[in-house]
């Protein structure tokens, strides 16, 4: 497994917390943060920020215009509020 220095890890923090890293790169990040408290703290901060965005920063207002559009053009009510989530 390749070893990472702190500078390289800094470039991989966001792809890691976003789930974009796989295999050897992912393992290298995890190995590095286990022995480097500073990088571990940086990673934890990014994970916290990402979690906060997902939990607290979502708009939930229901657009009136879309309700009209749905009724007039498609002749169907809007589905219950919600989000289909990220594409699989």
């Amino acid at each position: 497994m390749k070893a990472l220095d702190c500078e390289t890890l800094g470039l991989l923090v966001h792809p890691y917390v976003d789930g974009e890293l796989v295999g050897e790169d992912k393992e290298a990040v995890e190995t590095h943060v286990q022995r480097c408290a500073r990088c571990g703290a940086a990673l934890a901060r990014e994970q916290e920020l990402l979690g906060s965005c997902a939990r607290r920063a979502r708009f939930t207002g229901r657009p009136r215009a879309c309700a009209r559009l749905s009724g007039a053009c498609w002749r169907r009510p809007l589905p219950a509020p919600g989000n289909p989530g990220p594409p699989s």
Binding site: H14, A57, P63, R64, C73, W74, P79, G82, P84, P87
Partner: protein
Amino acid sequence: MAVRVFFRSEGTVEPGGRGDEGFCEAALLCLDGLFGFAMSLARDRSAAEDLVQETYLRALSARRRADPAQNLRGWLFTILHNVWRNERRRVRPEPLGEAIRPARSAEVVWLQRTTDPEKELERGRLSESLRDAIEGLPEHFRAVIVLRGIEGFSYQEIASILGCPTGTVMSRLARGRALVRQRLAAPAARLAREAAR
């Protein structure tokens, strides 16, 4: 997921046929996410509603030209962004690196409540700070943060929606999050000072 299954199972959509039913249902499931993205771009409820409406109208008329390789949700977000980009070109471009005023609509509701009043107050303040921090970002940072952090798209999907390289998505995310963190630091320090009094 259901949206992806639609294209695989329905194939070509016939107007007024069963395919339209599936298209409408799948497309409407994306409504809240599209409206949130539109709000993050336009920062104005009326403009966001227009954006979403135009997106659905275009999607409806172009549904048979949709690329089955791209999922419906990503396709709708791409249309919305293109509509927004064309509208911006027609009106006035947002200067790069501008410091933007928050333009929150009073009608827009944000999530997250707790039962503990103290915690709710604290979370409310932090949520407000987070909203302000994101809303205050320049558009190109705001878009990637919303698409990744809130809508959960992958880097590749964001690149496809915004029409830019994946590397640009990565650099904008890193820079945008750093700016959010900077903007959050000031209110957090103020809250800490208030708590210490």
